[in-house]
Symmetry: D2
Subunit: 381 residues, 4 copies
């Protein structure tokens, strides 16, 4: 499995960052990648320090992502893929530099801070031979795949209702005024985009709902708030959803809901049954065939199918978590990258969020902001 | 406690009915009432049969509620209170007959099938000396009282977000076409009103959210659906809520969500903490003071206060349920009725849903229907 | 249903008592009984005061249980049944007075404080025409009946393992030295018997395990402790169980386990499946057919059978609790008493714990105490 | 962090194996190790195939562990540590070869198949300069560390009761007769030892109970069974425990409990509070200070202390699981190995199960088997 590890670079993810470390573990977990280069910071010194921490050749530690793209593209054993883990507004400019040089991109979400940037990046992907993978990591959880497979199989019948929510509490106070870096950029419209909570976690919820249900959004009606005084972006969002084909839904996301850590919960109801899953207990999926007792399907356990099994590592009852789910995105990407190496396409089972999911997410945020500013009218997406 | 049991009559609640039996147990549980008369059905024969089942003097079994009101009002030991457990459209006409004769009314929810009826009934209550109690029974759960007390005490700080939902699955198929009586009248606009699920269970959710949070609704934006073909009323409703003072909320109710029995769940988040409660596990209340571990407060257990204790019967860990919560409404009503007997007012702790809550509920349904027909605009309530 | 309510008396259950109030609600809930007499206390004045609280004719308030038995037996409309809710050492002497006069006995558990008393009471029951019902109330929970039915039907195959436990924390401190009445008598060997926790709650756990599994105990090995200094009876008990036919089990009961209120949990595993139930969440039963997903069977819900349905009052999702379970014992007793009135026997579905269960419980406590004193050897029961 | 990755070898863990793959991920997760050699199988061809799978230099793929030890010890860049993931009976002979050559050993549990082997291995460790780490991986869970820290801090007061259990269902049928490799060796006394379930998972439960409580076992009384016909070792074990200082406990382990996957649950009760943790939901720890509401402490969340934080990677609400807990053992070992490289000792916070824990585990199994054969007498450990 490790033969021919994929040579990976990273942009962002220096010492102060959070998500960069997660990407590195995710890349390492299944031994598909080797991190060999990085522009971990925009100052060369800091980038070098991070490279040293990570055991990376100092010659391949860059202070500038463009320079990195140029040089790595020329190296015989230059990186084949780059992970982009910068704040949102820097996703598009970085991605484009690598895409144009044929280097695959694995990019954190949301795609971009603005819809214009998103559209522009779509074109860049279309022009490139390289792959573009968006780390909507929750789609990597085995039981999310299980749910998706069951719905695709028709186990729920026609979908009627989709309830999705993502609640946190870490921004219940004006944390961004205390110097906390994560809070700072995530509440700064310049870096995060016009959506706050709706962009940061609402897009995850939206992506997950569509990924599992297979539905496409038709229109939405949103009500966004900034409950913490002085906050420049929303920290709570209520959204009503109408899907193509008539299903309806609700999305709630909040960063001001005390007692919630990363409470991403998806519930889908159809004419023949219902499914319920929550990210904080990710190895379990509740399935109710209409008129029968509720069943607990566990990862790799009785009742779980192939879609879950192929992304599982250990037996049922030994929980896999967030990092494993994240790693699954990297492993799916690896399968696609390897197939591309061989001039082919990956196995049909390989699935990952791509540029189109990314555009849909940014369009979703844009529509939420619009609807809310209009005081709640329905907006087509 | 039993001395001077309150003489109770009932309208509705014959052999086919469901909620009548619940009211009878609720009335009996704490020994405050004695059921002595009833118009259990609109046909005298059936009413007599029910009376016989219930050990009630056949002379006080009526086939007509007006006749019952007239005669009982004249009897020396006539009923002091009447429980109305008919379909919604019959609440107002029945209640008025008893109110005008000074007989207290304990009425099932929602108040009426139409807003006009509701307003007319408000006037009837205002003109009467008798009490009017609406059995929004979920407000009788001790931990609901606990939550209300904590919010009133400021434990959550300013309320920001209210998430409430009531999901069922029993109408996932066109049950009303099979002869099932409960389904028939609850999906018949003539008897149930313009709201289906939103009237039947949405009003419970709405009432509970206001009762606990202490907030008043300012406006709403709703999306109602009838997913089951041929159904004449909504069976799923999504509603966004704006409360006076700036709090926001979401309400979801559904009767087509497989795997849900009576999943009424309330979550309230404020600047200083959060509370979460669910009806199917009613003896527990989750409380998170911001920045501290989540705490499990149990009925009569450590951390529970007076408001819960006064409506509890048994020690913590011995669950009380739906019937006990319902009985608490009857016991609160009994306290009020007894105080009235003595020419006084009940203890300040005595709380029950009244005619104003009833009117608010019907106005809520009316606004939801309006908003939904307008395709989602915000409607003031 | 209420026609011909059974005339009930009570011994014990005065103002300071706890369980008397529970019995009264249980008797009243389904309207099968009318409480008409009582020796609520051993001092006449207190008994009268309780009678006044309860709306009982003062002529039928007694200060002496023997006098009550004599007089009630002579009255034309004297009591047909008596509820005995005294401390354990007073069960036998009181029961015998009523049994010998043909008055049915509904007696709190454990049967007696000593094995000698238990055996003597068995003889008294055998000599009497009256019924003897022991309120091992947990056997009245619908999902306990469901579990029992499933095992009797062979759904679990041959039973291999029975894990039962009953944990509380209310005696974690020397509460009996503070004047708390419940703690006083329950830790006084004179009144409670040689077993403390093992008698008070261990017998419930033991009874429940046998009731559900259908197994009979062959031998046991116990380790009893008094963790609170100065306590005269055990407050924690560990017991290993061997059943006839080869099944094995463990029983743990404790009154010094902080965080446990009434955590009575039963888990039974057989060759074909497993069942799990816990008293604090009584409306749910977990069933795993070997090799299939775990299923959640709910009271009155999908998958629940007749045994649960006949003891349920309200639809699934509306929880019934401790009082309803307790009332089911009273209702089963009522069915038996009414059948006896008519000179017949009750319907075959009617089941309640009887004198033999009571004797088994006391023998169990006796064997636990013996085994523990011997330092853990196996003792036949 | 990755500079100077530790060069790791592996014995066992070829294509058919389960636990070898887990060790490899655990070693890789935090980037402390590089797997560079292995005797993955006792046939050279299979070992080579596994090496190829793993991207390991074929020159360092061995068919014989002794040959591997000899050669690696001589190589300039030979392995510094070896992971032993063979069946139990092969732990001691393999470990000794590496220990005598100064190569650190990271060994799967239980230590050995026999007590004699365990004692002999203790002597080998004592004679060696190398470290010996036993992968009782559950001790690596952050919330297990949290519990241990709280007890060490006295938050529970004197410990009174320890309830531990580990239930599975995968051996409910005679799986070992079907050719399933894992079942074959784990039920073969030659390879697994005299204890079946008690050795395989009972030792985990025992180790965890001691690790968290800080208690040492004084004596035990056990009842072991083989419920599946023809099975040569126990598949269910009931054990009563007496700890030094007077605490008491129960241990249940089973591989025939349908509905249980890896249900390892630990509950500890002291004079001042209680703690409850379960492996299938490992990010949560329930803590009840006596007389206060139960609190939910989450990994990295409010209320969690340093011991948990130092072994956490991601924020609260993003679950870490089995592999992360396992990796924590490897990371603790890495800290110790690195300190040894520098001629020092690791930070005082570094904790891992060692040879003494291993011996204690084997002695525990031995005592259980003895007690059970004697029909339940207490056996000193």
């Amino acid at each position: 499995m490790t033969e021919g590890r994929i040579r990976l670079g990273m942009v962002g993810g220096g010492r102060d960052a959070f998500i960069g470390g997660v990407h590195r573990i995710a890349a390492r977990l299944d031994d598909h990648y080797e991190l060999v280069a990085g522009a971990f910071s925009s100052t060369e010194e800091k980038s070098l320090a991070s490279a040293a921490d990570l055991g990376i050749d100092p010659k391949r530690a860059y202070g500038d992502f463009r320079q990195m793209a140029i040089r790595e593209a020329r190296l015989k054993d230059g990186i084949e893929a780059v992970a982009i883990v910068t704040p949102n507004h820097m996703h598009a400019p970085v991605a484009k530099e690598f895409l144009r040089r044929g280097i695959h991109v694995i990019c954190d979400k949301p795609l971009t801070a603005t819809l214009a940037d998103a559209k522009s990046l779509v074109r860049a992907v279309e022009r490139s031979d390289a792959l573009f993978v968006l780390t909507h990591n929750y789609t990597g959880y085995p039981m999310v795949r299980q749910a998706r497979e069951m719905i695709a199989n028709g186990d729920l019948g026609d979908i009627r209702v989709v309830q999705v929510e993502y609640a946190q509490d870490w921004l219940s106070t004006p944390l961004e005024t205390t110097g906390q870096k994560q809070a700072e950029w995530r509440t700064d419209p310049e870096r995060t985009g016009a959506g706050g909570a709706i962009g940061d976690i609402g897009t995850h919820a939206y992506n997950l709902a569509c990924f599992v249900s297979g539905l496409a959004l038709e229109s939405l009606c949103a009500d966004l708030d900034s409950f913490v005084e002085g906050r420049k972006v929303d920290d709570n969002a209520h959204v009503m959803l109408r899907f193509d084909g008539g299903a309806k839904g609700m999305l709630w996301c909040s960063q001001v809901a005390p007692g919630n850590e990363n409470a991403l919960t998806l519930r889908i109801y159809g004419a023949k049954g219902g499914l319920e899953w929550t990210q904080e207990d990710p190895n379990r999926l509740w399935y109710t065939p209409l008129g029968e007792p509720k069943r607990l399907i566990t990862r790799n356990g009785a009742g779980a199918g192939d879609a879950a099994a192929r992304l599982s590592r250990v037996p049922p009852g030994h929980p896999e978590g967030y990092l494993e789910g994240f790693a699954n995105i990297y492993s799916e990407a690896a399968a696609a990258i390897r197939a591309r190496r061989d001039g082919g396409t990956p196995d049909g089972d390989v699935v990952y969020p791509d540029i189109h999911d990314g555009l849909a997410g940014v369009a979703f945020v844009d529509a939420c902001v619009k609807s809310s500013r209009r005081k709640g009218g329905w907006v087509n997406v």
